[in-house]
Homo-oligomer: 229 residues x 2
Amino acid sequence: MLPNKLQVKPIESTFSLKEHIYETLHNGITSMNIYADDAQLKLDERQLSEQLGISRTPIREALARLEQEGLVTVIPRRGVFIVRKSRKEILEMITVWAALESMAARLITLNASDEGIASLRKLFTSFENGQVQAHIDEYSDRNIEFHQSILELSGCALLKETADRLFIHMKGIRARTISEQDRAKRSIIDHLHIIEALEARDTELAERLAREHTLNLAAHIEAHVDYLD
Amino acid sequence: MLPNKLQVKPIESTFSLKEHIYETLHNGITSMNIYADDAQLKLDERQLSEQLGISRTPIREALARLEQEGLVTVIPRRGVFIVRKSRKEILEMITVWAALESMAARLITLNASDEGIASLRKLFTSFENGQVQAHIDEYSDRNIEFHQSILELSGCALLKETADRLFIHMKGIRARTISEQDRAKRSIIDHLHIIEALEARDTELAERLAREHTLNLAAHIEAHVDYLD
DNA sequence: GTCTGGTTCTTGGTATACAATAGCCCAGGA
DNA sequence: TCCTGGGCTATTGTATACCAAGAACCAGAC
């Protein structure tokens, strides 16, 4: 049966050049390995404007935004450069992240619904029998989902937003560290413990476990990651 | 005795138009009462460019930066508007802040020097005899200093940086709430307790007190501040 | 070979013109 | 009087031209 009212497309994609360029550059930067020795870290406004067929203005706006997020730095009369995060900066990000996530865990025990907490457990049902090694890629995705969900369930949008801002810089790093088998196994156990604490509404325990789990990542990076300066 | 080597000024002030405009607008916005009924919330690019005697470009860059910080919002073909934070957003900011500051307190007990912790106590020596009411303005300054110092002493620059980003939006709010006598007195007691916990290197206690102190502010605002929507 | 001085050329900063569109106002008709 | 349609205005988005600063390079002198 056809509708008797005119169906209109709900929303016109609010396409904006600077937005588009921002996303393009953002994806490009976060998906490249900026720590490779031969990585091309310099960006050229004019070259980009030619490649993309647009003027410099929207590119400059996109670059300015990327600069404020800390992905690039623009040095007057030198050029625009993709920034390599130092080991110290990465560790600080994880520290802040731990602060955010532990607060999120706390809030969940106080405010979240039982259904919300239950949804966390579902993320890991397929790994119950220690099949982590077999599906390491899928696990990595679930791992990220788990942490995103924790922040989401806290009910504090800013908490998630702030963490997301940090997360931008972590994609590359995290994908590497998580793929080490041993850590994946331990990580999944940690997650289940956190879920149990949340289910039990044990505020202090959930907070502590969430914090320690994240800080463990920091310790691991400090000890084992050597491609940072 | 005169130096036998040429003394040079260490750094040339890297004056930039967009930087200057950014600061001007930033100061202007944070120091005005944007919650007054008759507050002028609209900004005009061209008007600003005429007033300041420069072109629109650097103004647009400054506005873009302010937008990313959440101080203004620019609606295409409508204009640039100063954003009023909702009560919910303010409360979320304080929640995130609490997360950051409690982590900072934790780190201080683990890493900071005794001298650093001692410096905190000095901030409040002049208020020891309950002279808070008499010097409420000075107290307000010290209060801010205290929280800044906590984040500073944590040794995690990003922690402070992230908090500063939130603090931008709090200036107006905080100045009002702190001036209520009763709260000032309670606040100073809280601070001293936090300092004691830090001095004792009691990690868990310091973390808890720092968190609760900040969350108390949230509770107070939720209960008593009525000029937010 | 090395240092010095200047010249060139790259590159971001700024100004300005033009385009696109959302909102407003007014006229005209029912 | 109210509604509708069109065009006018206000305001940001985008393109482009020009400028200034300084990094890099090169030549010449010692």
